[in-house]
């Protein structure tokens, strides 16, 4: 367990300067995520154009891992089609939870989160935004909880 593996430069950078942080003017979908044990809160808004994510914003309060993960996620899903996003969810989920799984190169910057799986207590910090995304895409308006 090496700290430098968890707090990589990309993560520190996205925590300090989260991308796509804020609100959309006319979101077509929105969802809230809450991690009740640690208190992290996340609000996610999507602008869907047909089957594609045209724009995305998030805001909320959380630790470096959850903020960076949400920031990286918004960058990764912007412009993608829904089936692509669904596939990405699966890949990220595997990366976060399966310690032996290789990190696929197509993850790009998201691969920076692979260190999280060495810190089981922090996996939920990283996955909160993805579960919130799923809820937003499913049109589920009740807040997502990681517990």
């Amino acid at each position: 367990m090496d700290l430098a593996d968890l707090y990589r430069d990309v993560i520190v950078d996205h925590n300090r300067k989260p991308r796509n942080f804020g609100r959309l003017e006319h979101p077509s979908r929105a969802a809230d995520g809450h991690n009740p044990l640690c208190g992290d809160r996340l609000h996610l808004e999507l602008d869907l154009d047909g089957g594609r994510i045209k724009d995305v914003r998030f805001d909320g309060k959380g630790c470096a891992i959850s903020t960076a993960s949400a920031s990286l996620m918004t960058e990764a899903i912007k412009g993608r089609t829904l089936p692509e996003v669904e596939q990405l969810f699966g890949t990220v989920h595997d990366m976060l939870t399966r310690r032996d799984a290789p990190v696929p190169p197509e993850l790009g910057k998201l691969a920076a989160l692979s260190g999280v799986r060495e810190f089981p207590a922090r996996v939920k910090c990283a996955s909160l935004c993805w579960h919130t995304l799923n809820a937003a895409l499913a049109g589920d308006s009740s807040p997502v909880k990681t517990e």
């Binding site: 700290l3 520190v12 925590n15 640690c38 208190g39 809160r41 959380g62 630790c63 470096a64 922090r122």
Partner: protein, 274 residues
């Protein structure tokens, strides 16, 4: 949840910016319809020590039942059972308050407990119970061998009593608290949450730009154990407008050097993420 089920109304006694309970407001809130006054002896989130003796007395005068959560108080200070409080004094939080209090709530292993405690009370109303005593207390009281008890229990009890009343741990805890408070308060970007004059030996704090959970992970990697999060005290977190805090607790087994190590690690965490 209880309010929903029973129609009871929950009223919360306000605190000030130091985390001190507003005693006048508390007194004003004890009305004819008040059924229960519940409070923690020591706030787990802030460290505030509440004047439970006065608070219980005020409730009793009005015939109101009190409930005290003593889990945080018991390990760190002598809890005076005789002073109208009737809790108990022990060094371990798993230990249970018992004796003359009307009803003692037990944190674990409930079966047989009350019978055992009732039996206890006859012999020694101020008995101190340890967690491992309670395992035995869970056996039928009459079935226990009297000689066995005489041989072991009083000695342990006396030792604990001595320690709780006169032991060095309270003084050491206070010294460590003073040192840690001064040391941490001097750190840039660090804000101590909870500055009551009567405090248990803990410091709850935030560091600008570093979420407490990240602090917890970083400190853990350096072998330092702190508690991070909302401490199940979300209204308190809202009051201080923080999502969570980091909390370092000190006891007689800690040293000043360890507080220096903590401060150095906090500095590095801030450099890393802040």
């Amino acid at each position: 949840m209880l309010c929903e089920q029973t129609g009871a109304v929950l009223k919360v006694v306000p605190i000030d910016r130091r985390g001190v309970v507003d005693h006048d407001a508390y007194l004003a809130m004890l009305g004819p319809r008040t059924r229960l006054a519940a409070f923690a002896h020591v706030s787990n989130a802030l460290g505030t020590v509440l004047p439970v003796r006065e608070m219980v007395a005020a409730a009793r005068e009005r015939g109101i039942v009190t409930l005290i959560d003593g889990a945080q108080a018991v390990p760190h200070q002598a809890v005076d059972v005789r002073a109208r409080l009737r809790l108990l004094r022990v060094l371990r939080p798993q230990a249970v308050r018992a004796d003359r209090h009307r009803r003692a709530l037990r944190p674990r292993g409930a079966a047989g407990g009350h019978a055992a405690l009732a039996g206890r009370r006859r012999h020694d109303p101020d008995r101190v119970l340890l967690g491992h005593d309670l395992q035995r207390a869970a056996l039928p009281v009459r079935g226990r061998h009297a000689g066995h008890r005489r041989r072991h229990r009083p000695r342990r009890r006396d030792r604990l009593r001595r320690l709780a009343r006169h032991g060095p741990h309270r003084r050491l805890g206070a010294q460590l608290l003073d040192y840690a408070t001064a040391r941490l308060a001097a750190m840039p970007g660090l804000e101590i949450v909870g500055t009551a004059p009567q405090k248990a030996s803990l410091v709850s704090f935030t560091i600008e730009g570093v979420h407490p959970h990240d602090l917890g992970t970083i400190l853990d990697a350096e072998g330092i154990a702190i508690r991070t999060g909302h401490h199940c005290a979300m209204p308190v977190m809202d009051f201080f407008d923080v999502p969570a805090t980091a909390r370092a607790s000190f006891a007689f087994y800690n040293t000043r050097e360890e507080i220096d190590v903590l401060a150095a690690a906090l500095g590095r965490a801030r450099e890393m993420l802040g």
